[in-house]
């Protein structure tokens, strides 16, 4: 199977006084298109840094990162924006729906930042099971529904990869299950999913689990 992500000796370091601190140290990882990956590890293990790297939110201090054939290392913010728009959908622990916009408007928010004619918000909201909430405001939704709206927003650009940061961290069991079911469904439809969590049980639904400690990948 063709790989979509290839990280080679990916490192991120910071200066703290005179010492160099590695948030991420020589990470090597290949992810194939259509895979469902979980990244687990305790706090401070470098999960978030790695996720920022994979999501093109940050650039590495050293090493290389090939995303869908593009070398990300060394790109400027302007180019990173383009790469994100074309390849990655983000799902956050806190949902980050704009409270003043309707469900439909929230889902279509990423379209505001690019000239894409296609608007599939109706179809996508059907996929996440919220077509009846089209004109509602976020405050009228349950937590689970909010996260599903956020997932719909992540899908509006037809990304190749879905990056989820603790997607069920703010949800109760019942709502978590709905979100997980949705992830499985999206995976079945062929989407590559990378999910960061510190919940081992949740991690197990993935094809593969990457464990991190002290800025290094333990198991590949």
């Amino acid at each position: 199977m063709a790989y979509i992500i290839k990280a080679e000796n990916l490192s991120k370091s910071y200066k703290r006084g005179s010492e160099t601190v590695y948030a991420l140290q020589e990470a090597n990882l290949v992810i194939n298109a259509g895979e469902f990956i979980s990244i687990v590890g305790p706090s401070g293990s470098g999960k978030t840094t790695f996720m920022n790297m994979l999501g093109c939110l940050d650039t590495p201090s050293s090493g290389g990162y090939l995303l869908n054939g593009t070398q990300i290392a060394g790109l400027k913010e302007r180019d990173l924006v383009k790469v994100r728009q074309e390849n990655i959908g983000f799902v956050f622990q806190q949902f980050y729906l704009l409270p003043t916009l309707t469900v439909k408007e929230n889902v279509e928010l990423p379209l505001l930042f690019q000239n894409k004619g296609l608007n599939r918000s109706k179809e996508i909201l059907e996929t996440v099971g919220l077509s009846h909430r089209y004109t509602h405001l976020p405050k009228e939704l349950s937590g689970g529904e909010m996260q599903r709206v956020a997932i719909a927003r992540a899908l509006i650009n037809s990304p190749k990869i879905l990056l989820a940061d603790e997607p069920t961290g703010n949800l109760d069991t019942k709502n978590s299950e709905k979100v997980i079911t949705l992830f499985r469904e999206l995976h079945r439809l062929g989407l590559t999913i990378i999910m960061v969590t510190h919940n081992p049980e949740l991690a197990r639904i993935a094809d593969r689990i990457i464990t991190m400690t002290d800025g290094r990948i333990k198991t590949a």
Partner: protein, 385 residues
């Protein structure tokens, strides 16, 4: 969905804060608008008052030029008189087309109002060809012409009799002066001789209105007039200049107050928008993560700021227009010298300038918060708790 609507909706998130910021802007722009309207109105009414004099220059008895300015425009009491001989001498001077002696003095009426009494003859009427007098001018020595509004106020009409306090006998209202919109609507007009008798100043006049054959020779005429003993000549441009000098210091003060008000409101906008940017750090991070560029974020915040100041500006202009009369009254009390027309006069240009100022305010005060927002990292959205 457009940037505009996202920005607009965002302003409704913190209604109280948005409202207070709007008020700050509205006050600043209202002050700016009123100030500009006042400047325009003041200049206009001053010029109008001067045009309404109907003469190129005046000769009066030597005295304080400020007092003379106010007297010429508003009426008042002058202690030093010129004589009929002065009128005759000036009439004989080269380049003088006409010289008309006028008598002016004031009387306090029982209701406490001080009214200015003007003594005129036919030549004086000729200086004001635009006057429309209903009825007749003066039929005899006991005639009086009243401004129409004043007559209505006093319950008088043509043919009514009227008495003046401290003066024996009665007057008959022979004519009503239609509203001129100038200081002339405030005077009581009597035949020149009658006015002189009432104030025991037979043969005396308070001012001589002079028209010239050739206005370019005005300096020569000034010289000739001032060669007469105890006579000073005042040209209309001198009156304008004196009134303007009186205004300059007041204007400087008002300008600085307006500038401070506008500056404070700009700081208010900057503070308010900056606060909302800081509160939305993570949300802005999310927007960048889902594809917003630095320019997109900058534009969103900037639009918010401009929307805020434009709306505030419109509210301010509306409020200033609505309160125009009040402002007129308040200013009149504060000024060293005020002409009789509308002190506050605005036009489309002043509205446009005020709106442009609001826009500029939004652009300037929103730029820094917008820049700060644009520099936020998309990682803010992911940063773990």
């Amino acid at each position: 969905m457009k940037f505009f609507s996202v920005a607009l909706k965002n302003l409704f998130r913190r209604r109280m804060r948005t409202g207070l910021t709007l008020m700050g802007i509205a006050i600043g722009i209202a002050m700016l608008f009123s100030f500009m309207s006042f400047n325009q109105g003041y200049q206009e009414s001053l010029r109008k008052d001067l045009r309404n004099m109907g003469a190129h220059m005046l000769a009066i008895a030597k005295g304080c030029p400020y007092e003379a300015t106010s007297m010429i425009l508003h009426g008042g009491e002058i202690k030093d008189y010129l004589t009929s001989e002065d009128v005759e001498r000036i009439r004989q001077m080269p380049n003088v087309a006409s010289a008309v002696g006028m008598f002016m003095n004031q009387k306090i009426f029982p209701h406490g109002k001080t009214l200015v009494v003007y003594g005129l003859d036919d030549a004086a009427f000729a200086l004001k060809p635009w006057w429309v007098v209903k009825g007749d001018k003066f039929l005899d020595e006991r005639s009086v012409v009243l401004p129409e509004e004043m007559a209505t106020e006093l319950g008088l009409s043509i043919g009514s009799t009227w008495s003046m306090p401290g003066v024996e006998g009665e007057f008959t209202v022979t004519g009503l002066l239609e509203k001129t919109g100038s200081q002339d609507d405030q005077f009581i007009y009597l035949p020149l001789v009658t006015a002189q008798q009432i104030f025991e100043a037979e043969g005396k006049v308070t001012s001589i209105a002079i028209t010239l054959e050739d206005i370019s020779k005005i300096q020569d005429v000034v010289k000739s007039v001032e060669s007469l003993p105890d006579v000073q000549a005042i040209t209309m441009s001198q009156v304008l200049g004196t009134a303007q000098t009186l205004m300059n210091s007041a204007q400087a003060m008002i300008t600085s107050i307006v500038a401070i008000a506008v500056l404070i409101s700009a700081l208010g906008v900057m503070n308010s928008i900056l606060m909302s940017v800081f509160e939305r750090t993570r949300e802005i991070g999310m927007m960048k993560a889902v594809g917003a560029s630095q320019g997109d974020v900058f534009a969103l915040v900037w639009i918010e700021s401009v929307l805020l100041t434009l709306t505030g500006g419109m509210l301010g202009i509306g409020a200033a227009i609505a309160a125009g009369k009040l402002i007129d009254g308040a200013l009149r009390g504060l000024l060293p010298f005020a002409p009789s027309g509308n002190l506050v006069a605005f036009d489309g240009q002043i509205v446009m300038v005020s709106l442009a100022a609001s826009l500029f305010l939004g652009i300037v005060s929103g730029a820094y918060p917008a820049f700060r927002a644009s520099q936020l990292s998309p990682m803010e959205a992911i940063r773990s708790e």
